[in-house]
Symmetry: C2
Subunit: 426 residues, 2 copies
Amino acid sequence: MSTIISVDTSDIRFPTSQQLDGSDAMNPDPDYSAAYVRIATDADDDLEGHGLVFTIGRGNDVQTAAIRALAPRLIGRDVEELLADMGGVWREFVWDSQLRWLGPEKGVMHMAIGAVVNALWDLKAKRAELPLWRLLAQMTPEEIVDLVDFRYLSDALTRDEALEMLRAAQPGRADREAQLLANGYPAYTTTPGWLGYSDEKLDRLCREAVADGFTQIKLKVGGDLDDDIRRLKIARDAVGPDIRIAVDANQRWDVADAIEWMAHLAPFDIAWIEEPTSPDDVLAHAAIARGVAPIPVATGEHGGGRVMFKQMLQAEALSVLQIDATRVAGINENIAILLLAAKFGVRVCPHAGGVGLCEAVQHLSMFDFVAVSGTVEGRMIEYVNHLHEHFVIPTEVSNGVYHAPSAPGNGMEMHAASRAEYEFRG
Amino acid sequence: MSTIISVDTSDIRFPTSQQLDGSDAMNPDPDYSAAYVRIATDADDDLEGHGLVFTIGRGNDVQTAAIRALAPRLIGRDVEELLADMGGVWREFVWDSQLRWLGPEKGVMHMAIGAVVNALWDLKAKRAELPLWRLLAQMTPEEIVDLVDFRYLSDALTRDEALEMLRAAQPGRADREAQLLANGYPAYTTTPGWLGYSDEKLDRLCREAVADGFTQIKLKVGGDLDDDIRRLKIARDAVGPDIRIAVDANQRWDVADAIEWMAHLAPFDIAWIEEPTSPDDVLAHAAIARGVAPIPVATGEHGGGRVMFKQMLQAEALSVLQIDATRVAGINENIAILLLAAKFGVRVCPHAGGVGLCEAVQHLSMFDFVAVSGTVEGRMIEYVNHLHEHFVIPTEVSNGVYHAPSAPGNGMEMHAASRAEYEFRG
């Protein structure tokens, strides 16, 4: 038996706004940041669980304070007991009645719970000497559904239905794991498309993306229509007709704006329109989806939790579902969302980039392929070539695919030197 | 000209869990708390702006930290300029791109913005020597719509439509203000209905409520069906057939549970069923509303913001809209919600109780009656007889009505002695 002896947090901020990396129509000058947590035990294995919440600068201190507020619930706890019942851990935190008031199940406190839950998953995977995707993909259907809280989901997905889907996917797991290891998981790149880049840089990065083997790129839009048309022309000319181009409005529009704006961009053959409006607006997304058809609507990086995703699916408000590694309450809730997407037959193309999001979210897509949806058709994980050097297990992306990580853990562990160098001191 | 010289926060907690005051099916042991903010200026009038966020205990420190994170934006600012453009103030905070990432527009950071916005409204009302309801009710329709951000609302309500409604209500303002001052604003009481109370206490408090002039009471339900039936029988016997009894499940159910449970409670003549399920689940509320008709569905105390209320109205998911004084980003956003409710012809019955919620939210209902909806039909403000003694301008409720406050301010100012006595020290 071992116990948790410390829960340390760090407020880590990278000065990305200096290069306009990450600039879009709503976020002109983000400083990519992480509210970081490290859970240590008294076991003699030296293993720690690491987790984080990605933010874009100001307020990272508030997010860190929220994680710190959870520490008293962890210190002194029996590690084996916690790790043996990760579904119970999720419920213990999410259903703490007093903390729940601060959301419920959304915003700063919900993301803080996600960081802690993910740090425990990191520790569990390291103890099992497995990358997280493989740890999850080796669990039985029964163990997987035990991770998920089906409260509020039963009008769309019951525990029994989830179990049935997971059991149906079981026979093909070994084959798909072999395919994953051989071929990797498809990626697309947002590297060329930030709003703050010059036309020349856009053109150059588009050509580099194709040369690097990507078959889809993404451009930020929604600042100025004439600029968007000019930039899309540059991008389309650079990549040719066979590469898909998605666009991302980062919540910029109301319903009518979105439909009108997209009518102007449609001639450039748009792979999807992402975050056209408020991420909480299921009915607006549904109206936009009808209005811009056949262009698919994508959303989810700010999706507050499983209840919002359930409604987006029920209302046919999206046809590309974008999970995010640190927006919801951790791995468990993202598994609930993957199960919902599988039930509705909607493809999942995770949001990534930021700080450590690529490193983290690939585990979920790979688990999904092996054990849940069983397919990569139309699916791909976002990729942005920023800040990977700070991670102990950096993503390996080449020829347009993510290569499955083999090192143990959830991928979120940052080098101690990076944490020290970018620690924010106000 | 004067400038803001300090923004002080306090973590104030009342040990209400000792009496089971406030206990319901989701919140067995709340410690009613306030993340409190005081804004001081260098003007020689000694006036301060006070605001708060109501929480139920753990995490109040996180909420206080979030308010504190906003202070640097306020210190040194020109007070007259801020108070002259409260719509601009709202947008400045809500559209801060980096802080926005932490919601967006929901949870801890959004409520923190609400506390600051409300503290500025308090200062503005005190400088005008008016209670907030009257300050708002004296603004022109143009000034009122300038307070509101119509982004994401235009598919349901445009600025022009809001302006038209406010202009149509203008001629009757003086009459209705006189009515309000003469008759007060209807109240209902939740005092009898907490789950943790004994049957004897329930019976006694129900009878007291009727004796005190209330025409509606509310009971918590959703813990155990047999208990609910027994308690409703006690309550109905105590109050007789003419007093309305609403019930509140505090998010306890999934869709099917809610419909089935309410079928068992319907014989007791239920005034409304409140928060039957997740507050973010528009589609589930709509399904429940169809399933429990003609019992009205009420929700809103955890409504994340104007986008959620807009959808609840569009989907006919509620027929009683419950604003809350500290859940959204302050007075401005609640005005947006009041305008939406008026557009859809839905009655507003605010959530109150907690710490200072009665004191604060009455201003919104009174403003709504005088200048927006122009009616009190079917409308009433929740009342709970807790903790009022800690406020400088405590609510005056008698004969089942709130009496309109005449003292300047937003009602949130707590006595310095109370703040000192209940300051939480970990």
